[in-house]
Amino acid sequence: MTLVEARGVGRTVELPDGRPLTILSGVDLTVSEGDRVSIVGRSGSGKSTLLNLLGLLDAPTEGELAFLGHDVRRIGSGARDRLRGSEVGFVFQQFNLLPGRTALENVQTPLLYSGGREFWRRERIARDMLERVGLGERLTTKPERLSGGEQQRVAIARALVRKPRLILADEPTGALDLETGAEVMSLIEAVAAETGAALVTITHDPTIAARSNRHFLLRGGRLESADAAGDEPIDGDASTVTEAAEPVEAVA
């Protein structure tokens, strides 16, 4: 089933002096259930903007973007928020756990925005999810007392606790060492495989990108398929990313 379908999607913002700045243009991308997609690109290449669009945090200024068949520009703000809450899970580079809350409370947070039984059973569900990521013994520990790997596990549990159909991972291993990063990615992939969710990973790290089965490069606001271009699939060679990274192009 197609989750996200982007056709000629672009995003332009207005600079303080009134000039337009095009961050993304002509993006075509289809993400279906079970897909493993990686997007690599330099800082400023438009990765965050693309993440915002895929995660329903923003709407395109050109082209068509459909989420589960619905044109996102026609979905109201509140409905978009609710759709994001139920269908999209975010994993961030800096984990972004809520300070002062225990691991269990952090994982319960998305369930606060869920209606019905999920809300009333939120503690049970969050507990099961934390056990699933191997943190059954650290339920009442606050993020400050968890290691980086453990914090990212909590973040993964939180992202997946509502069983989203689309997982957006923004540099998920960026703050972890290589070994822990690999473990975390394995965990995300395993949990995503269980629910059949699509996983879109934005990364600088070619070894992480190589774990996907579809690979894209983001250059100057344009998304290019590394597979379709006839390139060798990204295999973890750092030169691939170096080559992909280009100076930011502002399309006026």
Binding site: S48, L51, N52, G55, L57, D58, S77, G78, D81, R82, R84, G85, S86, F90, F92, N96, L98, P99, G100, R101, E105, T109, P110, L112, Y113, S114, G115, G116, F119, W120, R158, R162
Partner: protein
């Protein structure tokens, strides 16, 4: 329909749960930011509460002189003829009975000579009926006010002031201390009560005596200082119908008296004044309270704005997990509203303790309030209401700011 109801109910509950959760997590900061509000509410409530007690003290003082609302006094003019007090009293009683008026008293001044241990002294007597006490809120520091049965005593009851009592040697009233009263004859009176000194200058002995006890004793000749005894006739009637009743009673009294007698009636209580005599106090209290509250609100607003800036990242994270703008708005607003409500309750609690403390009694000029008002409920409601209003106002700007947060920018903040 049921599904919609369940979703709505869950939505409301989850919103409140989230807001309370936020409040719990940030309780330390919230408590700190609310100290100012709690102090402001405490000050506001204390001022309003103390103001109500001061007003009551002032009202009671006015009532001691002019009577409680509505007290109407009537003077009888006999056209120069010597008044027949018994006939006037009979006409007065008939008039009162006809109008169903329960509280009434004659009130006049006379003088009797009292034989103290150190000599005989002319003492000013306020000559009244038993109802005068409740009508004028007469306070006693010892003994009890006159009853109807005191009029039948052979030894007249007298209620003396503290100066009088001290001059007698402050005897316990249980021993039924007596005094020699000299007027048109000599009689032994019994001291049955003592009124407190009105001020430190209240050093001359004075006393209350019942009209029925005084009339047989009054001198045939007018007292050179006080003039002839000529009481005013007072009645205590419902405030709402005072004007019509006064007119009716005045006509009926005049008619009962007959023989060209005239009756003048007027309201003597403070409430008869067109302007509220306590308005300046009330305005001052409100003015002080508003300034205090504004200062508290300003502090809260500053802290709330700074706090939201510091929580932009957190708000962004919540938005990314499905929190709608409405949820974030409500959560931030709830935090200040619930917080200020708690601060309001604490402030009001402290204010109640302060207002009820003996210190406050002293601060109110030592006014001994007879009908001590319970802590005025309106003061408590004003305090808590003002706190919540301040919370809502101070929370509005930060909440609007929180809604405008750009999610991804906030997460990377």
């Amino acid at each position: 329909m049921t599904g919609w109801l369940t979703r709505t109910a869950t939505g409301i509950v989850s919103t409140v749960v989230e807001a309370l959760e936020e409040l719990r997590i940030h309780r330390g900061r919230v408590l700190l930011s609310l100290i100012g509000v709690a102090v402001a509410v405490c000050a506001l409530t204390t001022v309003v509460g103390a103001g109500a007690i001061a007003e009551q003290a002032g009202r009671e003082m006015s009532e001691r002189y002019g009577g409680r609302p509505a007290t109407v006094s009537m003077n009888v003019g006999t056209g120069g003829a010597a008044p027949d007090h018994e006939a006037i009293a009979a006409a007065w009683q008939t008039t009162l009975d006809r109008h169903g008026i329960e509280y009434a008293s004659r009130s006049g001044y006379g003088s009797l000579t009292v034989q103290f241990a150190d000599g005989a002294v002319p003492v000013s007597m306020q000559v009244v009926d038993p109802d005068y006490g409740p009508m004028h809120r007469v306070r006693l520091v010892e003994g009890v006010w006159f009853t109807e049965r005191d009029g039948d005593r052979l030894a007249p009851a007298v209620i003396v002031n503290e100066a009088f009592w001290k001059r007698l040697g402050s005897p316990p009233l249980a021993t039924h201390p007596t005094v020699e009263l000299v007027g048109n004859g000599r009689v032994t009176g019994v001291v049955t009560g003592v009124t407190p000194a009105q001020s430190e200058w209240d050093v001359e002995p004075t006393a209350f005596i019942l009209t029925d006890s005084f009339l047989p004793l009054q001198s045939a000749t007018a007292d050179p200082m006080m003039g002839a005894y000529m009481p005013s006739y007072e009645m205590w009637i419902p405030d709402g119908s005072a004007d019509e009743l006064t007119e009716s009673v005045q006509r009926a009294f005049e008619s009962e008296l007959g023989g060209g007698a005239t009756v003048d009636g007027w309201r003597s209580d403070y409430a008869a004044q067109e302007e509220d005599p306590f308005l300046p106090i009330k305005l001052m209290v409100v003015g002080v309270a508003v300034v205090i509250l504004l200062l508290g609100a300003l502090g809260l607003l500053t802290i709330a704005l700074v706090t939201v800036r510091g929580r932009i990242r957190e708000i962004g994270i919540r938005r990314s997990f499905g929190a709608t703008a409405g949820r974030v708005f409500f959560s931030v607003l709830m935090e200040t509203v619930v917080g200020t409500f708690v601060a309001g309750v604490v402030g009001v609690g402290v204010a109640i303790a302060l207002v009820r403390s003996p210190l406050m009694g002293m601060a109110l000029g030592g006014a001994e309030v007879q009908d001590m008002p319970g802590f005025p409920i309106e003061a408590a409601l004003i305090g808590i209401g003002a706190a919540v209003a301040v919370g809502a106002l101070a929370g509005l700007l930060p909440a609007l700011g929180a809604v405008r947060v750009k999610v991804i920018d906030a997460i990377r903040f």
